[in-house]
Symmetry: C2
Subunit: 563 residues, 2 copies
């Protein structure tokens, strides 16, 4: 009874579908990278046949019989197998993947454009500054994730009570990415200098601007860490350049258009550097969405255009400059010693008021990039993703594993540890660690199990794990009960390794395989992995063994998560 | 007799003209940065009056009389003084600047787009690979400049005989810029690895691609340094992606349009990173010029678009992929141990053939950025710019400085050294060093001078220096003869410090100033600087003093060069 697909497979663009084939010939199982060229797909590519494959059938294996009986019952369609013409290639697409990626009008938003941002004026952030203490940022992954998310969404975060040590700003950057060295060095000091090469190093007022517009690629993140601020004045201001650009588009569409279409020469020169970039003040992506603001009155060099275009540009430039100075747009902050401001230099403009030179004001700054920050956030979130599994181990897993002298969690942690100690590849360590999650997920107790209730735990577990992992993890789990029946049939010494409880459940699981079943099982591509997991399973019922906590396996598990 | 301006000043866009005012109130003389906001210019800005100013009159000073007589003769108009309404601001624009920057249709080309490149197919580079030996690259600034220029123009350079040391690739990058650290580290090893997170670290063939398309900003330069290459195969190929994009635009404009308008999700995932960028395969600037190619079949993730758009995208993508594989586009190289390839990762695609694992193949790579490379090249070229001055010191400067016991070059080098030893700011060290170049440039010999021929050397020198330097250098030079006449008038001890020759030339220079002339001179803004230069001038006629070579002053001089 396969569930009908909600759209005919024949309506899918063939090259798109084939380009997304997940098989091991098309994608490197280790790196996930594609192994073929789009140009090497055969001419006249088409779907020859598409077949729904029910739940419980390992990918690429003949249906049912060779695995345990329970899997023989056809379930709902879980995936679609496509036979390709003219080359005879097979692809199996999980139905969940097809549903999640079905071609429609919803493109994935590019988080770097205005579409992925929460635009703001100062009043919008009253009472909800994205700020936290350094210790909380370091110690609490959830807090850290919330802060990094704020940099992507609002354009900044403010870390308080960061140690006031020279060079500390580099350590802040390294919590989320790589420092981008520039002509100003790995870090730069913002304080009054005797022979400044930049107005930043004087006590002058600086109006809202982005940094280093003369660089291309421009540094996409800036950090400013306050070491001292006893001066009168020297307040910091932030303006959302995307909000300002959006306002300009509404109020003066012609000016917006001019500023997106006019490359502006930004120039910086000193003894050691001569930088120039020709970029518009408002950069849009290929769909016209605002993606970058460069605004720095100090370093705009001489534009060369026909006079009427120069007139129009300057009128638009001035309109935007006046808009950026509107007080309601600017969020005012006073950086206190220990504060570290981290902001999106492609979006937020920063400013400072003039200050009296009688008090010390000293910031240290550095640059970094948004791509690294977004990556760090995504990796942090993988741990959140696995929270439900961690909870199963802590909750249901702590319960009796009836008939055994260990809890279910201890049993699985031991199995993972055994696999790890044996030098198994990560996906088999994960499979060993998670092989019995099917027991934890259902409301079936160990007693139910002993009483002969078949909860099909290997399939329940494999299906559950499919939320996070690919078939390299799920299929050994799916087959680990069949592997027991197989081993009983082919390995005379194996039966002796089974615990009493395990020997008992063998019966409800179908008993040892017939020679024909065993031969069919052995022929499965995943048989060896399933047997390996099964052997670690048997070894993992030692009441005296020390077991690592679930968290020990998190890095390994997060690395295996599906994209 | 001012030369008429070749265009009426009133036709110039007023905000553009005012935004380029070079005065010290509008631009920081040290950093060259603008000191005002475009939004702070008064409403109704207009040119009230424009006056041609003849050659020889220091900016902002009353015409003629107070300086030496020769300058009193009106010359051709050298600059235009503008009086602004309604705020009464004064701006002085050198005529040469106005001519060079006159508003017209010729915009400065953006060297990062196809407009600034020499596009190529493999055959175009036969016999003219941009390559040199490491030693020549290091030792010869001209060779280094030619190589860096090749990276900007052709997209790559090939350095031969680079020491085969681990980490050497970082030293190569640091000759022109800053290393961009990524998830692969500061440097990465390209060799076969047991558990690769990227196909680069296998022996598989890799078709033409750009690196790290999932990064944004993408690293704009890649370096690959060959430490060993004994394997069968493993040849390197380079394809000019801008040339390929240009070909696509000609042959299939619709496909070109689709590839510039479709953001493509590029994704990379491993245990420590999860990177994603949504960028078109062919990126254009805001004027539609090709500016960036991203092409990497391995890391294109799943596009979500309506089915007809997916069909169209895949057809265009395949067309471009096939084009990129045309053999005539690909330059084939075999990297030998010691070779270091440096290439533009926003433009050139690189490839390698498969190789047999029986021979060692080991490259080390790192990333850097084009902006830093272009800056390094521009600074290198400043030295070229000063070559004519260096030649004056070596040529005419080596000649007698008649009546003195030193050559002209020794005299000027000593003056520069004296200024430097006195802790003078760079522009006065330069003025002291260069104060007598007027003697060298003209065909006037020391004997001519002694014979009373006035070659107006202070003005000749100041005008000559105006090719390279601003008024902070040229005006002390222009006034250094007047300063002698002034000092004779006001400092009774000064006359005794003059050499015999100098006392003699005083007569042909107009003799000591009258009290009225001296008062007018002292009121000039540049008088103090001119007097300082004059005193170093008198101190610099010591036959026994060791003098540094002209090259000693090059960094100081290049830092003072006008943009």
């Amino acid at each position: 009874m396969p569930t009908p697909l909600s759209f005919p497979i024949d309506d899918l663009p063939v090259m798109w579908l084939r380009d997304n084939c997940p098989c091991a010939d098309c994608r490197d199982p280790r790196s996930g990278q594609k192994l073929f060229q789009i140009s090497s797909l055969p001419a006249g590519l088409r779907v020859e046949a598409a077949t729904g494959i029910p739940d419980g059938t390992p990918t690429g294996t003949p249906t049912g019989a060779a695995t345990d009986e329970a899997a023989g019952e056809p379930g709902a369609a879980a995936s679609v197998e496509v036979l390709w013409a003219p080359d005879g290639h097979h692809s199996t697409y999980p139905l969940a993947w097809l549903e999640a990626n079905r071609p429609d009008g919803a493109s994935h938003g590019d988080r770097r454009t205005e579409d992925g941002k929460e635009l703001w004026v100062a009043g919008d952030l009253a009472g909800r500054l994205p700020q936290t203490d350094w210790d909380a940022y370091l110690d609490e992954p959830g807090t850290r994730a919330r802060m990094l998310e704020a940099v992507l969404r609002l354009g900044f975060m403010l870390l308080r009570r960061v140690p006031r040590a020279e060079g500390q700003v580099l350590a802040v950057a390294e919590t989320f990415g790589h420092v981008r060295e520039t002509n100003y060095g790995k870090l730069f000091d913002v304080r009054v200098e005797p022979d400044p090469n930049n107005l930043a190093f004087t006590s002058a007022r600086i109006t809202p601007h982005t940094d280093n517009p003369y660089r291309d690629p421009v540094p996409t993140i800036q950090l400013l860490h306050c070491l001292a601020n006893d001066a009168q004045g020297g307040e910091t201001g932030l303006v959302d350049g995307f909000a300002a650009a959006s306002l300009l588009r509404t109020q003066d569409p012609a000016a917006f258009e001019i500023l997106t279409r006019t490359p502006v020469p930004f120039v910086f020169r000193d003894a050691g550097a001569e930088l120039r970039a020709d970029r518009p003040l408002i950069g849009t992506d290929c769909l016209g969405r605002v993606r970058e603001v460069r605004f720095n009155n100090r370093s705009i060099s001489t534009l060369r255009l026909p006079a009427p275009e120069l007139e129009a540009f300057y009128t638009a430039y001035r309109t935007f400059a006046e808009l950026l100075l509107r007080p309601e747009l600017q969020l005012d902050l006073r950086l206190r010693p220990g504060d570290c401001l981290v902001f999106d230099n492609t979006r937020l403009l920063h400013a400072r008021t003039a200050f009296a030179q009688d008090g010390a004001r000293h910031l240290q700054g550095c640059y970094a990039d948004l791509d690294g920050l977004a990556s760090t956030l995504a990796v942090l979130r993988r741990a959140d993703t696995l929270e439900p599994l961690a909870e199963l181990f802590a909750g249901a897993g702590a319960a009796e594993y009836l008939g055994e002298s260990v809890t279910m969690a201890q049993h699985m942690l031991q199995a993972g540890m055994r696999a790890e100690a044996a030098g198994a590849p990560p996906h088999l360590v994960a499979a060993a660690l998670l092989h019995d999650v099917g027991h934890l997920e259902g409301a079936v107790t160990g007693q139910d199990l002993m009483a002969g209730t078949d909860n099909r735990h290997s399939h329940t577990g494999a299906d559950l794990l499919g939320r996070w992992f690919g078939s390299e993890v799920t299929e050994p789990v799916r087959l680990h009960v069949a592997a027991k029946r197989y081993l009983c049939a082919v390995d005379p010494t194996y039966g002796a390794t089974l615990s009493e409880a395990s020997r008992y459940t063998l019966r409800v699981q179908g008993g040892e395989m017939t020679p024909a079943q065993a031969a069919a099982f052995a022929a499965l591509p995943g048989a060896a992995n399933a047997v390996a997991v099964r052997r670690w399973d048997e070894e993992a019922k030692d009441a005296d063994a020390a077991t690592p906590p679930f968290e020990h396996f998190l890095p390994l598990l997060t690395a295996l998560l599906r994209g």
